[in-house]
């Protein structure tokens, strides 16, 4: 599995971890990771610790997640980005939409 999902015991926090390349090939898995949940979590963490690469379709997937989680009122953190991944997120100015660390 290259997309691993974990929900906190109180059901309020969803953590989605990506392993390997985060590109169009992960599209289906990534969507399912949050769409199949019965209750909407209050906050979402996208963990990119094991992600090696991120392309523009991954950025699109993050936008889909944000939309699903309530758009401007969503609470999404993108954590553990490598320096390459951070650069891509910075060029796209996605730090204006997501809390990136």
């Amino acid at each position: 599995m290259s997309v691993v999902t974990e929900v906190s015991s109180d059901g309020k926090k969803l953590t989605i971890s990506i392993e390997g390349r985060f590109d169009f090939g992960r599209h289906q898995e990534f969507r399912e990771s949050y769409e199949r949940l019965g209750n909407k979590p209050e906050s979402i963490v996208v963990d990119l610790k094991k992600a090696t690469y991120l392309d523009s379709s991954a950025l699109g997937m993050l936008l889909l997640l944000r939309d699903h989680a309530g758009g401007d009122s969503s609470d999404i953190r993108v954590v553990n980005s490598s320096s390459d991944v951070k650069k891509i997120l910075a060029i796209s100015n996605f730090d204006k939409l997501f809390d990136i660390s």
């Binding site: 523009s56 379709s57 936008l63 939309d67 796209s92 100015n93 996605f94």
Partner: protein, 566 residues
């Protein structure tokens, strides 16, 4: 039992064996054709196209080997399995059967169970081959279809995309002919004032979805540029349109430029594209044009940020933009080419005109093979006189041309913040046919009068800030900040058109609520085009007639004349 009875050809010279075999095969549910030698077998195959052949190796007239070769040739790509019937036992002879095109062999005397199993196995192979061929043809058909669709789509798009001025002498670009289907987009067009707008964009994804968004984007770009809208208005419209029509996960990274040959400056907005570079030829310095914004189509119209940056340029300076394909190029170890390597290519570059080739070469060396999907564009600043924008095309006949009228506008603070009235004013004035020949000068003068009234008048900005490059940037930062905070103030525009000797005269008066300026001191300065500051006033005096300032500089007045039209 096989699911589907086959038509099986039995080629066997011994009548007894033929009959025995026929009855076994018939009992297994198949239809049987028979031949007594190789030549008959080939003929039977030609006429009836059986699906499988049981072939005796040794026969008179034509032996089984030759018959097998001919039948395989006739069958072409279709798999017609041939099972050799043979009493031969030496391995060399058995190998010959397969070399001649046989697929299997069956030793005499016949074992019914093995024969049935072999027919079944061969039938499976035959069906597999048929499926593969069918799918291959289907893929080929779809591929042809797709290529044709792309060709048509590209032809339509090229008509739209190339309606601009990509062939202008100051633009050099490199783009794959099918860049559209990589989501890359390059557009360029002149504004009515002779400025040049350039867009390099990159849609998310590939293929048709990426190409679909390009069309509305190009239409907004060309439509609004031709009408004289500035970058901010055009960007707001493009963003709103893409936000409305694209699915959530699609967007367009883009850099937009406005090169002003008269003001010698470039205005930049970069949303999500890699750094572009402003290359100062005299100092060799390259100023990065960094992405300050989210891509187009992500934010709602309410939250979209259309703020631009302005940089001074000298004649010969160049702006270089590139798509993410350059820095995203990976080597065998998944290392990115990256910005540092690009800057090394810049540093090593000696002939500016060879930059594209050198970047391509560096990418090829790094990656091990060439890339055909990167886009690069370089736009240089020429003397204004070296570029002649194409004349505008008007569709009306001129019979209803208005010749005697006047109109007053007052634009107040809340309007000045977000609205650019120049395109409307220009369109109104170009209803007067006599003015069309000078539309460029007219627009330039109107734009200068308006921005002087707004920036120096209403906003109270000091043009001497623009003396040097850093002040230039500061000036435009202050302009944005003060405009954001603007509470009151106005710009009034008075237009009067009157007939005169068969031709006519346009008088433009622009007034502002600012503090005015020392008219005599500014007018005493020579009319030149070198300084960064005060260019507006000299431009107005060069392009219009009888320019004058009154009310301590708060009111500017210019005239345009035209002769009787032929």
């Amino acid at each position: 039992m096989p699911l589907e009875p086959l038509m099986i050809l039995i080629a066997e010279d011994s009548a007894a064996d033929r009959m025995l075999l026929s009855s076994i095969v018939r009992r297994q549910g198949h239809e049987v054709l028979t031949a007594a030698n190789g030549a008959e077998a080939v003929e039977a195959f030609r006429q009836q196209r059986p699906q499988l052949v049981l072939m005796d190796a040794m026969m008179p007239v034509m032996d089984g080997f030759e018959a097998a070769r001919q039948i395989k040739a006739l069958a072409g790509e279709t798999l017609v399995p041939i099972i050799f019937l043979t009493s031969l036992t030496e391995s060399e002879a058995l190998a010959r059967c397969l070399e001649a095109g046989g697929d299997d062999f069956l030793a005499k005397p016949y074992n019914q169970v093995i024969l049935a199993a072999k027919i079944k196995a061969m039938d499976r192979l035959r069906r597999l081959q048929a499926t593969v061929l069918e799918q291959r043809d289907q893929i080929a058909r779809h591929h042809d279809y797709l290529l044709n669709e792309q060709r048509v789509a590209k032809a339509v798009f090229d008509k739209v995309a190339h309606s601009g001025c990509l062939n202008a002498p100051n633009i050099r670009y490199l783009q794959s002919p099918y860049a559209l289907f990589n989501g890359d987009l390059l557009l360029a067009a002149f504004t009515p004032a002779g400025d040049m707008h350039v867009l390099l964009g990159d849609f998310t994804g590939h293929g048709l979805p990426a190409a679909v968004g390009a069309m509305p984007l190009a239409e907004v770009f060309y439509g609004m540029t031709a009408k004289g809208y500035g970058l901010s208005e055009t960007l707001r419209e493009m963003n709103a349109k893409l936000k409305r029509i694209l699915p959530v996960d699609m967007f367009c990274c883009a850099t937009l430029l406005c090169l002003s040959f008269q003001r010698r400056s470039v205005e930049v907005w970069n949303g999500g594209m890699p750094d572009g570079y402003l290359h100062n030829i005299a100092s060799g310095e390259r100023t990065p044009l960094t992405a300050r914004h989210l891509p187009l189509g992500v934010l709602s119209p309410q939250t979209f940020d259309d703020r631009t940056e302005v940089f001074p340029m000298a004649v010969g300076d160049r702006v270089f933009l590139l798509s993410d394909g350059v820095i995203d190029t990976c080597d065998a170890k998944e290392q990115l080419f990256g910005v540092e390597r690009l800057q090394q290519v810049f540093a090593a570059n000696r002939q500016p005109d060879r930059l594209f080739e050198e970047i391509e070469q560096a990418l090829q060396d790094f990656r091990g093979e060439a890339r055909d999907d990167v886009s690069m564009v370089e736009v240089s600043l020429l003397e204004a006189a070296q570029l002649i924008p194409p004349p505008l095309v008007y569709s009306d006949s001129g019979q209803s041309c208005p010749l005697d009228w006047s109109v007053n506008f007052e634009f107040r603070a809340a309007t000045l913040k977000r609205f650019n009235p120049l395109p409307y004013l220009l369109q109104l004035l170009l209803e007067v046919h006599g003015l069309r020949a000078q539309s460029g000068a007219l627009y330039s003068v109107l734009a200068e009068l308006y921005s002087n009234a707004l920036e120096h008048g209403v906003l109270g900005l000091d043009s001497s800030l623009k003396r040097d490059a850093s002040g230039f940037t500061r000036y435009y930062q202050q302009r944005n900040a003060r405009l954001d905070e603007l509470q009151d103030g106005y710009v009034r525009v008075h237009l009067q058109v009157a007939p005169k000797d068969g031709g006519g005269c346009l008088t433009i008066r622009v007034e502002d609520s600012g503090k005015g300026f020392d008219v005599e001191r500014v007018m005493a300065r020579p009319v030149d085009g070198i300084r960064l500051s005060g260019r507006g006033v000299s431009l107005i005096r060069q392009l219009s007639r009888n320019a004058s300032w009154s009310d301590e500089g708060r009111s500017a007045r210019v005239e345009f004349f035209w002769e009787a039209l032929a």
